[in-house]
Protein backbone atom coordinates (compact mmCIF):
# COMPACT_ATOMS: atom_id res chain seq x y z
CA UNK A 1 0.00 0.00 0.00
CA UNK A 2 1.24 3.52 -0.79
CA UNK A 3 2.47 5.25 2.36
CA UNK A 4 1.91 8.96 2.98
CA UNK A 5 3.40 10.99 5.82
CA UNK A 6 1.23 13.96 6.79
CA UNK A 7 2.98 16.78 8.61
CA UNK A 8 0.50 19.13 10.25
CA UNK A 9 0.57 20.99 13.56
CA UNK A 10 -3.20 21.52 13.85
CA UNK A 11 -4.64 18.29 15.38
CA UNK A 12 -8.07 18.84 13.82
CA UNK A 13 -6.64 19.30 10.37
CA UNK A 14 -4.32 16.35 10.85
CA UNK A 15 -7.35 14.20 11.65
CA UNK A 16 -9.33 15.56 8.72
CA UNK A 17 -6.53 14.99 6.19
CA UNK A 18 -5.75 11.55 7.63
CA UNK A 19 -9.33 10.40 7.21
CA UNK A 20 -9.55 11.88 3.73
CA UNK A 21 -6.35 10.14 2.57
CA UNK A 22 -7.29 6.83 4.20
CA UNK A 23 -10.52 7.10 2.24
CA UNK A 24 -8.39 7.36 -0.89
CA UNK A 25 -6.70 4.09 0.00
CA UNK A 26 -3.36 5.33 1.35
CA UNK A 27 -1.53 4.10 4.42
CA UNK A 28 -1.27 7.36 6.38
CA UNK A 29 0.90 8.36 9.32
CA UNK A 30 1.03 11.79 10.95
CA UNK A 31 3.70 14.08 12.43
CA UNK A 32 2.94 17.25 14.35
CA UNK A 33 6.00 19.28 13.31
CA UNK A 34 9.12 19.26 11.15
CA UNK A 35 11.36 17.59 13.69
CA UNK A 36 9.02 14.70 14.32
CA UNK A 37 8.59 14.31 10.56
CA UNK A 38 12.38 14.11 10.07
CA UNK A 39 12.61 11.37 12.69
CA UNK A 40 9.78 9.43 11.08
CA UNK A 41 11.24 9.68 7.58
CA UNK A 42 14.55 8.35 8.91
CA UNK A 43 12.81 5.41 10.54
CA UNK A 44 10.70 4.49 7.57
CA UNK A 45 10.72 6.20 4.19
CA UNK A 46 7.20 7.03 3.04
CA UNK A 47 6.24 7.11 -0.66
CA UNK A 48 5.16 10.73 -0.28
CA UNK A 49 5.24 13.55 2.26
CA UNK A 50 2.44 16.14 2.53
CA UNK A 51 3.90 19.00 4.51
CA UNK A 52 2.34 22.04 6.14
CA UNK A 53 4.70 25.04 6.13
CA UNK A 54 3.88 27.27 9.06
CA UNK A 55 4.48 25.13 12.13
CA UNK A 56 6.05 25.77 15.53
CA UNK A 57 9.59 24.49 15.99
CA UNK A 58 10.89 23.55 12.59
CA UNK A 59 8.88 24.89 9.65
CA UNK A 60 7.94 22.80 6.64
CA UNK A 61 10.39 24.34 4.16
CA UNK A 62 13.32 23.72 6.48
CA UNK A 63 12.14 20.17 7.22
CA UNK A 64 11.72 19.49 3.49
CA UNK A 65 15.24 20.82 2.73
CA UNK A 66 16.72 18.52 5.36
CA UNK A 67 14.76 15.54 4.08
CA UNK A 68 15.84 16.19 0.49
CA UNK A 69 19.46 16.64 1.50
CA UNK A 70 19.42 13.03 2.70
CA UNK A 71 17.11 11.62 0.01
CA UNK A 72 16.84 13.89 -3.03
CA UNK A 73 14.16 11.73 -4.64
CA UNK A 74 11.67 11.82 -1.78
CA UNK A 75 8.44 13.32 -3.19
CA UNK A 76 7.16 16.25 -1.11
CA UNK A 77 3.98 18.29 -1.54
CA UNK A 78 3.81 21.55 0.37
CA UNK A 79 0.31 22.14 1.69
CA UNK A 80 -0.15 25.57 3.22
CA UNK A 81 -3.02 27.88 4.11
CA UNK A 82 -0.99 30.68 2.55
CA UNK A 83 0.02 31.28 -1.04
CA UNK A 84 2.81 33.62 0.14
CA UNK A 85 5.41 30.86 0.36
CA UNK A 86 4.85 29.91 -3.28
CA UNK A 87 7.25 32.66 -4.19
CA UNK A 88 9.95 31.48 -1.77
CA UNK A 89 12.76 29.95 -3.86
CA UNK A 90 13.39 27.27 -1.28
CA UNK A 91 9.80 26.09 -1.65
CA UNK A 92 10.50 25.34 -5.32
CA UNK A 93 12.27 22.14 -4.35
CA UNK A 94 8.86 20.65 -3.61
CA UNK A 95 7.17 18.49 -6.23
CA UNK A 96 4.03 20.60 -5.83
CA UNK A 97 2.49 23.37 -3.78
CA UNK A 98 -1.17 23.26 -2.77
CA UNK A 99 -3.02 26.06 -1.01
CA UNK A 100 -5.34 24.56 1.60
CA UNK A 101 -9.02 24.75 0.86
CA UNK A 102 -12.20 23.15 2.20
CA UNK A 103 -12.49 21.39 -1.12
CA UNK A 104 -9.78 18.75 -1.05
CA UNK A 105 -10.05 17.80 -4.70
CA UNK A 106 -6.88 19.68 -5.64
CA UNK A 107 -4.78 17.98 -2.96
CA UNK A 108 -6.12 14.55 -3.93
CA UNK A 109 -5.37 15.17 -7.61
CA UNK A 110 -1.91 16.54 -6.84
CA UNK A 111 -1.02 13.52 -4.71
CA UNK A 112 -2.03 11.19 -7.55
CA UNK A 113 -0.09 13.19 -10.12
CA UNK A 114 3.11 13.40 -8.03
CA UNK A 115 3.01 9.69 -7.19
CA UNK A 116 2.46 8.80 -10.85
CA UNK A 117 5.30 11.09 -11.96
CA UNK A 118 7.72 9.64 -9.44
CA UNK A 119 6.80 6.10 -10.22
CA UNK A 120 7.31 6.84 -13.94
CA UNK A 121 10.72 8.43 -13.26
CA UNK A 122 11.89 5.57 -11.11
CA UNK A 123 10.69 3.19 -13.82
CA UNK A 124 8.26 1.55 -11.41
Amino acid sequence: MTTVLLVEDDPNQLLLYTEMLKGEGYDVSGAKDGREALRMVEESRPDLVVMDISMPGMDGIEAMSRMLSKDHKLPVILNSAYATYKDNFRAWSADAYVVKSSDMAELKETIKRVLAQNSAESGG
Binding site: S65, L68, S69, K70, H72, K73, N88, F89, R90, W92, S93, D95
Partner: protein, 416 residues
Protein backbone atom coordinates in the same frame (compact mmCIF):
# COMPACT_ATOMS: atom_id res chain seq x y z
CA UNK B 1 17.01 48.19 -19.18
CA UNK B 2 19.45 51.04 -18.48
CA UNK B 3 22.98 49.84 -17.84
CA UNK B 4 23.13 50.99 -14.23
CA UNK B 5 19.74 49.45 -13.52
CA UNK B 6 20.79 46.22 -15.23
CA UNK B 7 23.92 46.13 -13.09
CA UNK B 8 21.99 46.75 -9.89
CA UNK B 9 19.51 44.02 -10.71
CA UNK B 10 22.21 41.45 -11.37
CA UNK B 11 23.81 39.32 -8.72
CA UNK B 12 27.14 37.77 -9.66
CA UNK B 13 28.10 34.35 -8.43
CA UNK B 14 31.71 33.35 -9.01
CA UNK B 15 32.37 29.64 -8.75
CA UNK B 16 35.60 29.50 -6.82
CA UNK B 17 35.54 26.00 -5.50
CA UNK B 18 37.21 23.76 -8.06
CA UNK B 19 39.84 21.34 -6.76
CA UNK B 20 42.10 22.17 -9.67
CA UNK B 21 43.72 18.73 -9.67
CA UNK B 22 45.41 19.41 -13.01
CA UNK B 23 47.17 22.43 -11.51
CA UNK B 24 48.69 20.29 -8.76
CA UNK B 25 51.10 20.98 -6.98
CA UNK B 26 50.21 24.69 -7.24
CA UNK B 27 46.79 23.75 -5.80
CA UNK B 28 48.20 21.54 -3.04
CA UNK B 29 47.57 24.20 -0.39
CA UNK B 30 45.16 26.55 -2.14
CA UNK B 31 42.15 26.54 -4.41
CA UNK B 32 42.72 27.25 -8.11
CA UNK B 33 41.40 30.85 -8.20
CA UNK B 34 43.89 31.72 -5.45
CA UNK B 35 46.97 30.59 -7.40
CA UNK B 36 49.37 33.53 -7.87
CA UNK B 37 49.52 34.69 -11.48
CA UNK B 38 51.21 37.36 -13.56
CA UNK B 39 53.38 38.80 -10.78
CA UNK B 40 51.29 40.33 -8.00
CA UNK B 41 47.90 38.89 -9.01
CA UNK B 42 45.84 35.83 -8.15
CA UNK B 43 43.87 34.17 -10.96
CA UNK B 44 40.51 35.29 -9.55
CA UNK B 45 41.52 38.98 -9.80
CA UNK B 46 40.82 38.93 -13.54
CA UNK B 47 37.19 37.86 -13.17
CA UNK B 48 36.62 40.22 -10.25
CA UNK B 49 38.26 43.10 -12.14
CA UNK B 50 35.92 42.40 -15.05
CA UNK B 51 33.02 42.71 -12.60
CA UNK B 52 34.42 45.97 -11.24
CA UNK B 53 35.03 47.43 -14.69
CA UNK B 54 31.56 46.34 -15.83
CA UNK B 55 29.94 48.07 -12.86
CA UNK B 56 28.74 44.78 -11.32
CA UNK B 57 29.28 45.22 -7.62
CA UNK B 58 27.17 42.58 -5.96
CA UNK B 59 29.40 39.55 -6.02
CA UNK B 60 29.33 36.28 -4.13
CA UNK B 61 32.33 33.99 -4.46
CA UNK B 62 31.41 30.41 -3.61
CA UNK B 63 34.37 28.71 -2.01
CA UNK B 64 34.93 25.27 -0.60
CA UNK B 65 38.23 23.36 -0.86
CA UNK B 66 41.31 24.86 0.79
CA UNK B 67 39.79 28.30 0.79
CA UNK B 68 41.83 30.08 3.48
CA UNK B 69 44.24 31.61 1.01
CA UNK B 70 41.38 32.75 -1.26
CA UNK B 71 39.34 34.15 1.64
CA UNK B 72 42.34 36.12 2.83
CA UNK B 73 43.03 37.48 -0.62
CA UNK B 74 39.39 38.52 -1.10
CA UNK B 75 39.42 40.27 2.25
CA UNK B 76 42.66 42.13 1.55
CA UNK B 77 41.91 43.04 -2.06
CA UNK B 78 38.19 43.17 -2.58
CA UNK B 79 36.76 44.64 0.58
CA UNK B 80 36.89 48.03 -1.14
CA UNK B 81 33.18 48.04 -1.94
CA UNK B 82 30.62 49.81 0.19
CA UNK B 83 28.08 47.48 1.78
CA UNK B 84 25.89 50.42 2.73
CA UNK B 85 25.49 51.21 -0.96
CA UNK B 86 24.57 47.61 -1.64
CA UNK B 87 27.98 46.75 -3.07
CA UNK B 88 30.02 43.77 -1.95
CA UNK B 89 32.41 41.00 -2.84
CA UNK B 90 31.79 38.30 -0.26
CA UNK B 91 33.18 34.83 0.00
CA UNK B 92 30.54 32.24 0.85
CA UNK B 93 31.71 28.93 2.27
CA UNK B 94 29.26 26.00 1.89
CA UNK B 95 26.26 26.62 4.13
CA UNK B 96 25.05 23.02 3.84
CA UNK B 97 21.44 24.20 4.09
CA UNK B 98 20.33 21.89 1.31
CA UNK B 99 22.73 19.07 1.83
CA UNK B 100 25.35 17.88 4.26
CA UNK B 101 27.96 17.63 1.55
CA UNK B 102 30.30 19.65 -0.61
CA UNK B 103 29.18 20.92 -4.00
CA UNK B 104 28.75 18.09 -6.49
CA UNK B 105 28.76 20.28 -9.60
CA UNK B 106 28.16 23.83 -10.80
CA UNK B 107 24.35 23.51 -10.67
CA UNK B 108 24.52 21.95 -7.21
CA UNK B 109 26.65 24.88 -6.02
CA UNK B 110 23.83 27.22 -7.02
CA UNK B 111 21.14 24.90 -5.63
CA UNK B 112 22.86 24.83 -2.26
CA UNK B 113 22.82 28.63 -2.28
CA UNK B 114 19.17 29.12 -3.20
CA UNK B 115 18.70 30.64 0.23
CA UNK B 116 21.15 33.40 -0.74
CA UNK B 117 19.18 34.08 -3.93
CA UNK B 118 15.99 34.17 -1.85
CA UNK B 119 17.57 36.84 0.36
CA UNK B 120 18.86 38.95 -2.54
CA UNK B 121 16.01 38.43 -5.04
CA UNK B 122 17.94 39.79 -8.05
CA UNK B 123 16.25 39.86 -11.48
CA UNK B 124 19.29 38.23 -13.09
CA UNK B 125 22.10 36.02 -11.91
CA UNK B 126 25.44 36.03 -13.69
CA UNK B 127 27.52 32.91 -13.12
CA UNK B 128 31.26 33.19 -13.65
CA UNK B 129 34.29 30.95 -13.28
CA UNK B 130 37.04 32.07 -10.93
CA UNK B 131 39.84 30.57 -12.99
CA UNK B 132 39.76 32.34 -16.36
CA UNK B 133 42.05 35.09 -17.60
CA UNK B 134 40.32 37.55 -19.96
CA UNK B 135 38.76 40.96 -20.25
CA UNK B 136 35.05 41.15 -20.80
CA UNK B 137 32.43 43.80 -20.30
CA UNK B 138 29.70 41.71 -18.74
CA UNK B 139 27.17 44.50 -19.23
CA UNK B 140 27.25 43.85 -22.99
CA UNK B 141 26.16 40.30 -22.28
CA UNK B 142 23.48 41.39 -19.80
CA UNK B 143 22.11 43.88 -22.34
CA UNK B 144 22.09 41.20 -25.01
CA UNK B 145 20.26 38.87 -22.60
CA UNK B 146 17.56 41.48 -21.92
CA UNK B 147 17.20 42.53 -25.55
CA UNK B 148 16.84 38.91 -26.69
CA UNK B 149 14.28 38.32 -23.95
CA UNK B 150 16.37 35.29 -23.12
CA UNK B 151 15.92 33.12 -20.06
CA UNK B 152 19.47 31.81 -20.29
CA UNK B 153 22.43 33.32 -22.11
CA UNK B 154 25.69 31.44 -22.53
CA UNK B 155 28.87 33.28 -23.49
CA UNK B 156 30.60 31.53 -26.34
CA UNK B 157 33.94 31.75 -28.03
CA UNK B 158 34.92 30.74 -31.52
CA UNK B 159 37.35 27.87 -30.90
CA UNK B 160 39.16 25.29 -33.00
CA UNK B 161 37.37 21.97 -33.60
CA UNK B 162 40.00 19.99 -31.67
CA UNK B 163 39.76 22.37 -28.74
CA UNK B 164 35.96 22.16 -28.91
CA UNK B 165 36.09 18.64 -27.49
CA UNK B 166 36.92 20.14 -24.10
CA UNK B 167 33.91 22.50 -24.11
CA UNK B 168 30.17 22.57 -24.40
CA UNK B 169 29.64 23.10 -28.14
CA UNK B 170 26.52 24.81 -29.49
CA UNK B 171 24.81 25.69 -32.72
CA UNK B 172 22.81 28.88 -33.09
CA UNK B 173 20.28 30.36 -35.51
CA UNK B 174 20.51 33.78 -37.18
CA UNK B 175 19.41 35.50 -33.93
CA UNK B 176 21.98 33.58 -31.88
CA UNK B 177 19.31 31.44 -30.29
CA UNK B 178 20.81 28.09 -29.30
CA UNK B 179 19.41 25.27 -31.43
CA UNK B 180 21.80 22.54 -30.31
CA UNK B 181 24.06 22.04 -27.30
CA UNK B 182 26.41 19.17 -26.62
CA UNK B 183 28.89 18.93 -23.75
CA UNK B 184 32.40 17.76 -24.69
CA UNK B 185 31.32 16.22 -28.01
CA UNK B 186 33.50 13.60 -29.74
CA UNK B 187 32.93 15.37 -33.06
CA UNK B 188 32.11 19.04 -32.45
CA UNK B 189 29.70 20.58 -34.93
CA UNK B 190 31.57 23.08 -37.09
CA UNK B 191 30.47 26.66 -37.73
CA UNK B 192 28.77 27.21 -41.09
CA UNK B 193 31.46 28.25 -43.56
CA UNK B 194 34.31 27.43 -41.14
CA UNK B 195 34.81 23.65 -41.03
CA UNK B 196 37.68 23.91 -38.55
CA UNK B 197 35.94 26.16 -35.99
CA UNK B 198 33.04 25.72 -33.55
CA UNK B 199 31.20 27.68 -30.86
CA UNK B 200 32.48 26.71 -27.42
CA UNK B 201 30.74 27.59 -24.16
CA UNK B 202 32.95 29.66 -21.88
CA UNK B 203 31.09 28.49 -18.77
CA UNK B 204 29.79 32.04 -18.28
CA UNK B 205 26.03 32.36 -17.92
CA UNK B 206 23.29 34.92 -17.38
CA UNK B 207 20.04 33.47 -16.04
CA UNK B 208 16.70 34.97 -15.20
CA UNK B 209 16.74 34.21 -11.49
CA UNK B 210 13.43 32.34 -11.50
CA UNK B 211 14.51 30.17 -14.43
CA UNK B 212 17.75 29.41 -12.63
CA UNK B 213 16.06 28.38 -9.39
CA UNK B 214 13.52 26.23 -11.23
CA UNK B 215 16.23 24.44 -13.21
CA UNK B 216 18.59 23.77 -10.31
CA UNK B 217 15.70 22.65 -8.09
CA UNK B 218 14.51 20.22 -10.78
CA UNK B 219 18.05 19.01 -11.39
CA UNK B 220 18.58 18.42 -7.65
CA UNK B 221 15.93 15.69 -7.81
CA UNK B 222 17.70 13.85 -10.62
CA UNK B 223 20.65 11.47 -10.53
CA UNK B 224 22.97 13.64 -12.56
CA UNK B 225 26.40 15.17 -12.10
CA UNK B 226 24.57 18.47 -11.39
CA UNK B 227 26.54 20.45 -13.93
CA UNK B 228 25.15 23.25 -16.11
CA UNK B 229 27.05 22.24 -19.23
CA UNK B 230 26.71 18.49 -18.87
CA UNK B 231 23.22 18.06 -17.44
CA UNK B 232 21.09 21.21 -17.67
CA UNK B 233 21.81 23.01 -20.95
CA UNK B 234 21.61 19.95 -23.23
CA UNK B 235 18.21 19.21 -21.66
CA UNK B 236 16.64 22.67 -21.68
CA UNK B 237 17.86 24.56 -24.75
CA UNK B 238 14.84 23.34 -26.75
CA UNK B 239 12.17 24.35 -24.23
CA UNK B 240 13.67 27.55 -22.81
CA UNK B 241 14.81 30.73 -24.52
CA UNK B 242 18.55 30.02 -24.56
CA UNK B 243 20.86 32.39 -26.41
CA UNK B 244 24.57 32.43 -27.14
CA UNK B 245 26.44 35.68 -26.58
CA UNK B 246 29.47 35.92 -28.85
CA UNK B 247 32.43 36.93 -26.71
CA UNK B 248 33.93 38.76 -29.68
CA UNK B 249 30.84 40.87 -30.45
CA UNK B 250 31.65 44.59 -30.51
CA UNK B 251 34.94 44.02 -28.70
CA UNK B 252 36.95 46.99 -27.62
CA UNK B 253 39.30 44.73 -25.70
CA UNK B 254 41.33 41.84 -26.96
CA UNK B 255 39.78 38.51 -27.79
CA UNK B 256 42.13 36.86 -25.31
CA UNK B 257 40.44 34.25 -23.13
CA UNK B 258 42.16 31.40 -21.30
CA UNK B 259 40.86 28.76 -18.97
CA UNK B 260 43.80 28.13 -16.64
CA UNK B 261 43.09 24.41 -16.55
CA UNK B 262 46.54 22.88 -16.72
CA UNK B 263 50.10 23.68 -15.66
CA UNK B 264 51.06 24.24 -19.30
CA UNK B 265 48.12 26.63 -19.77
CA UNK B 266 49.21 28.42 -16.59
CA UNK B 267 52.78 28.77 -17.83
CA UNK B 268 51.69 29.90 -21.30
CA UNK B 269 49.20 32.45 -19.96
CA UNK B 270 51.99 33.98 -17.85
CA UNK B 271 54.21 34.20 -20.93
CA UNK B 272 51.32 35.84 -22.80
CA UNK B 273 51.67 38.88 -20.51
CA UNK B 274 55.17 39.58 -21.85
CA UNK B 275 56.29 41.38 -24.98
CA UNK B 276 55.13 44.54 -26.66
CA UNK B 277 52.36 44.38 -27.49
CA UNK B 278 51.55 41.42 -25.24
CA UNK B 279 48.74 38.99 -25.98
CA UNK B 280 47.13 40.08 -22.72
CA UNK B 281 47.81 43.65 -21.63
CA UNK B 282 48.01 44.41 -17.92
CA UNK B 283 48.79 48.05 -18.69
CA UNK B 284 45.40 48.93 -20.13
CA UNK B 285 44.22 52.17 -18.48
CA UNK B 286 40.64 51.50 -19.61
CA UNK B 287 40.51 48.08 -18.02
CA UNK B 288 42.54 48.06 -14.79
CA UNK B 289 43.22 44.80 -12.97
CA UNK B 290 43.02 45.13 -9.23
CA UNK B 291 44.98 43.13 -6.71
CA UNK B 292 46.50 43.32 -3.25
CA UNK B 293 49.80 45.17 -2.99
CA UNK B 294 51.71 44.43 0.16
CA UNK B 295 53.98 47.27 1.31
CA UNK B 296 57.32 46.50 -0.30
CA UNK B 297 60.16 48.62 -1.62
CA UNK B 298 60.39 49.07 -5.39
CA UNK B 299 62.08 46.54 -7.62
CA UNK B 300 65.84 47.03 -7.92
CA UNK B 301 68.43 45.92 -10.43
CA UNK B 302 71.96 46.09 -9.04
CA UNK B 303 75.58 45.79 -10.14
CA UNK B 304 77.44 42.90 -8.54
CA UNK B 305 80.84 44.10 -7.29
CA UNK B 306 82.30 40.61 -6.96
CA UNK B 307 81.61 39.43 -10.48
CA UNK B 308 81.52 42.95 -11.92
CA UNK B 309 78.31 42.03 -13.70
CA UNK B 310 75.32 44.28 -14.12
CA UNK B 311 71.84 42.85 -14.34
CA UNK B 312 70.56 42.02 -17.80
CA UNK B 313 66.78 41.90 -17.62
CA UNK B 314 64.73 41.68 -20.80
CA UNK B 315 61.12 41.02 -21.71
CA UNK B 316 60.02 40.30 -18.15
CA UNK B 317 57.58 41.35 -15.46
CA UNK B 318 59.33 42.29 -12.23
CA UNK B 319 57.09 43.05 -9.25
CA UNK B 320 57.92 45.30 -6.34
CA UNK B 321 60.38 44.09 -3.74
CA UNK B 322 62.42 42.13 -6.28
CA UNK B 323 66.21 42.48 -6.25
CA UNK B 324 68.06 41.35 -9.35
CA UNK B 325 71.77 41.48 -8.94
CA UNK B 326 74.18 40.93 -11.79
CA UNK B 327 72.02 38.16 -13.24
CA UNK B 328 70.50 37.38 -16.60
CA UNK B 329 66.71 37.32 -16.77
CA UNK B 330 64.69 36.85 -19.93
CA UNK B 331 60.99 36.07 -20.51
CA UNK B 332 60.22 35.77 -16.82
CA UNK B 333 57.35 36.72 -14.54
CA UNK B 334 58.35 37.55 -10.97
CA UNK B 335 55.89 38.01 -8.12
CA UNK B 336 56.86 40.43 -5.34
CA UNK B 337 60.01 39.81 -3.31
CA UNK B 338 61.93 37.58 -5.74
CA UNK B 339 65.72 37.69 -5.43
CA UNK B 340 68.14 36.55 -8.08
CA UNK B 341 71.82 36.54 -7.24
CA UNK B 342 74.78 37.31 -9.50
CA UNK B 343 75.74 35.03 -12.35
CA UNK B 344 72.38 33.29 -12.10
CA UNK B 345 70.19 32.90 -15.14
CA UNK B 346 66.37 32.75 -15.18
CA UNK B 347 64.68 32.18 -18.52
CA UNK B 348 61.03 31.52 -19.53
CA UNK B 349 60.02 31.06 -15.91
CA UNK B 350 57.38 32.06 -13.39
CA UNK B 351 58.74 32.74 -9.91
CA UNK B 352 56.22 33.37 -7.14
CA UNK B 353 56.50 35.55 -4.05
CA UNK B 354 59.74 35.39 -2.11
CA UNK B 355 61.55 32.89 -4.33
CA UNK B 356 65.30 33.28 -4.29
CA UNK B 357 67.79 32.05 -6.86
CA UNK B 358 71.33 31.60 -5.60
CA UNK B 359 74.57 32.66 -7.27
CA UNK B 360 75.24 30.95 -10.58
CA UNK B 361 72.01 28.92 -10.51
CA UNK B 362 70.31 28.29 -13.85
CA UNK B 363 66.54 28.16 -14.17
CA UNK B 364 64.81 27.47 -17.48
CA UNK B 365 61.12 27.05 -18.17
CA UNK B 366 60.14 26.56 -14.54
CA UNK B 367 57.20 27.42 -12.33
CA UNK B 368 58.47 27.95 -8.79
CA UNK B 369 55.98 28.31 -5.95
CA UNK B 370 56.34 30.76 -3.06
CA UNK B 371 59.44 31.06 -0.86
CA UNK B 372 61.47 28.32 -2.51
CA UNK B 373 65.22 28.89 -2.25
CA UNK B 374 67.16 27.57 -5.20
CA UNK B 375 70.73 27.23 -3.89
CA UNK B 376 73.83 28.58 -5.59
CA UNK B 377 74.92 26.54 -8.57
CA UNK B 378 71.67 24.53 -8.80
CA UNK B 379 69.95 23.89 -12.12
CA UNK B 380 66.30 23.58 -13.01
CA UNK B 381 64.90 22.83 -16.44
CA UNK B 382 68.31 21.99 -17.90
CA UNK B 383 68.32 18.23 -17.30
CA UNK B 384 64.75 16.93 -17.20
CA UNK B 385 65.78 13.44 -16.15
CA UNK B 386 67.35 14.91 -13.03
CA UNK B 387 64.39 17.27 -12.46
CA UNK B 388 61.92 14.38 -12.66
CA UNK B 389 63.48 12.79 -9.60
CA UNK B 390 62.17 15.61 -7.43
CA UNK B 391 59.63 17.55 -9.45
CA UNK B 392 56.80 17.38 -11.90
CA UNK B 393 57.78 18.08 -15.50
CA UNK B 394 54.83 18.96 -17.74
CA UNK B 395 54.11 17.74 -21.26
CA UNK B 396 55.55 20.96 -22.67
CA UNK B 397 58.64 20.66 -20.53
CA UNK B 398 57.94 23.07 -17.66
CA UNK B 399 59.38 22.03 -14.29
CA UNK B 400 57.11 22.75 -11.34
CA UNK B 401 58.63 23.31 -7.89
CA UNK B 402 56.11 23.23 -5.03
CA UNK B 403 56.28 25.14 -1.76
CA UNK B 404 58.33 23.83 1.12
CA UNK B 405 61.15 22.23 -0.89
CA UNK B 406 64.46 21.97 1.05
CA UNK B 407 67.14 24.45 0.11
CA UNK B 408 69.98 22.06 0.93
CA UNK B 409 72.46 21.90 -1.95
CA UNK B 410 72.43 18.11 -1.66
CA UNK B 411 68.72 17.94 -2.47
CA UNK B 412 69.35 19.99 -5.60
CA UNK B 413 72.29 17.83 -6.63
CA UNK B 414 74.81 20.64 -6.16
CA UNK B 415 78.35 19.56 -5.33
CA UNK B 416 77.55 15.85 -5.66
Amino acid sequence: MRSDVAAQNTLVIVLGGGQGERLYPLTRDRTKPAVPFGGPYRIIDFTLSNCMNSGLRRVYVLTQYKSISLDRHLRLTWSCYHEELGEFVVSVPPQQRMGERWYLGTADAIFQNVYTLEQERPALVMILAGDHVYKMNYLDMIRFHSESEAEITVACSNVGIEEGRRFGVMEVDADNRIVAFEEKPGTPKALPGAPDRCLGSMGIYVFNTKTLVQLVSEDAKQDTSHDFGRDILPKVFARRRCYAFPFLAGREHSSYWRDIGTLDAFWQANMDLLGAPPKFDLFDPNWPTRTYHQQQPPAKVTFDEESELSGDVTNSIVSHGCVLSGCRVRDAVFSPGVRVAAEAEVVESVLMNGVSVGRGARVRRAIVDKHVHIPAGATLGIDHEKDKRNFKVTENGAVVVPKGIPSDPGFWGVGT
